[in-house]
Symmetry: C2
Subunit: 307 residues, 2 copies
């Protein structure tokens, strides 16, 4: 039995604030059909794939914020994507803003991603842990990055699922910059990590690094892949969205850290690669055999509160 | 007061088994003079810089092994390097095999590096924690990698020193592949990490990755620099040494992860760069502000014994 999985990174170009979920889902479905035509068995979409990247705005009215959140999955508007997956027999992964109503009127909000089987079963759910940006309105910025305001830190840890014949984990956007994320997944024997992102080209606190955004994106993804011997699929929402340019560079990376497929535009685009999950062992059994070479008793500071 | 330090990566070409320490120290001193002529204030040499890389041989006679170790530093043979440093007014860092005699005839052996002031003061000592390779003779290999046999795991943790106007840490060879190493130093506010290495071009357990050795070297060094906002100096022992080809690629890397200077040969060679330690803050205060963005309570698995 082969353990090779044909995967598509399904990059999305910009989504306007006025664009409806139904319109976005139509674009996503078109990408799914294009990927399936190339034999893809798994289609990976970006973070917060269903709407424009709303944390760029300071919005005082919580009702207006909540309009960007999903209260059920699938919903009427996302159902066509699930139906297409069932029709084509492909699994898929995508990010969305998740609103959870708990007892006594308590509401929780997360930046979430799910991996869904072709039959609509949720195989893996992850809620973003490394929320970037800031909590309060910072008027000096040309655009905001209010993820710390609109989302709670994820409460599901870094889960890894046995799915699609392999061990699959997820991370979301800023998570990928932190080697802790990849290591938490690697220590659970992940063979494939699915990552969506929305990354502005311009970083207001240190604009002298703007020209390095693509380099930093790939550097973190490639190091995470190699240092854990796992396949990595990084998928962007890209292009000029509501006046904010987002990087592209969606790619599929081998356990050696090599980029084996990538998108070349900043629009809707699919990149496809055959990912042989058995090749993880070349790295995981040797240079990065955790059992043989890690020294966890020397790493105390890594988990010290306040660091 | 400027916090810019002019640093030289002083790469060494191969060292034959028959070469004496005096001969090697002469080569190192010549590199120090060449670096100083370019204004270097700190000269960084490779791991185990004083002899050939002896863990490539299975040596049964412990006396023969111990001949590769230093019992004092400086010794008569290394004194000329210390004298040149004093004459030129440069600090330097290098690696050596360290033999420590403790009470009751107990002997301990480490793969060690020191940072030394121009006046001969040891500013920082580090003993390698991530020992690669294997413990027992493996006859199938074209050459051995017996660091786990000849050395103990370092017992000094990951120290960081206030020295030369900055915060300086060290790592040795295989340590650099592990993001834990850089993070342990980064959490102590390191601004400069000095790393020597001896890395064979051929990796017997997974020769299908031989062509990626240079890529993997730089990937780990660059990710470690960027993800901690620290300068990194990586220095090779390079070239065809006793039938074993070692990679070069010695380099100086900015806190952005960019390589700003590198060696082009696999012989004795110096690469020099001006390292403005204040530029660390562009990364450390923003995208990798640990205080704002790390989630140490989510990382328990990283320190779990047996992982």
């Amino acid at each position: 039995m082969t353990r090779s999985l044909r995967i598509a990174a399904a990059q999305l170009g910009p989504i306007a604030r006025t664009e409806t979920r139904a319109q976005v889902v139509e674009r996503m479905t078109a990408l799914m059909r294009a990927a399936n035509a190339r034999g893809a068995e798994l289609v990976v979409y970006p973070e917060l794939a269903l709407t424009t990247f709303f944390p760029r705005w300071y919005i005082e009215d919580q009702t207006e914020v909540d309009a960007f959140f999903e209260t059920e999955m699938p919903s009427d508007e996302t159902a066509p994507l699930f139906r297409a997956a069932a029709e084509l027999g492909v699994a898929f992964s995508f990010g969305y803003a998740e609103l959870v109503r708990e007892g006594e009127g308590r509401i929780r909000r997360f930046n979430t991603s799910v991996l869904v089987s072709s039959q609509g079963e949720i195989l893996l759910k992850y809620r973003k842990i490394h929320l970037p940006g800031h909590r309060d309105h910072e008027a000096w910025r040309p655009f905001q990055h209010l993820e710390k305001r609109y989302f709670e830190v994820g409460d599901l840890g870094f889960p890894v699922a046995d799915a699609l014949g392999g061990r699959i984990g997820s991370a979301i956007c800023n998570d990928r910059r932190w080697p802790e994320t990849f290591r938490m997944l690697g220590l659970q024997n992940a063979e494939l990590v699915l990552i969506g992102y929305n990354t502005p080209q311009h970083y207001p606190p240190a604009p002298e690094h703007d020209h390095l955004q693509d380099f930093h994106n790939h550097l973190c993804l490639q190091a995470g892949a190699y240092q854990n011997g796992t396949w990595v699929v990084g998928v962007a929402k890209a292009g000029l969205e509501e006046g904010c340019e987002l990087i592209g560079g969606s790619c599929i990376i081998a356990p050696t850290g090599e980029i084996v497929a990538r998108c070349l535009t900043r629009g809707d685009e699919v990149a496809v690669a055959d990912c042989d999950l058995d090749r993880c062992r070349e790295i995981q059994d040797n240079i990065f055999s955790f059992e043989k070479h890690r020294q966890p008793d020397q790493y105390g500071l890594l988990v010290k509160p306040g660091t």
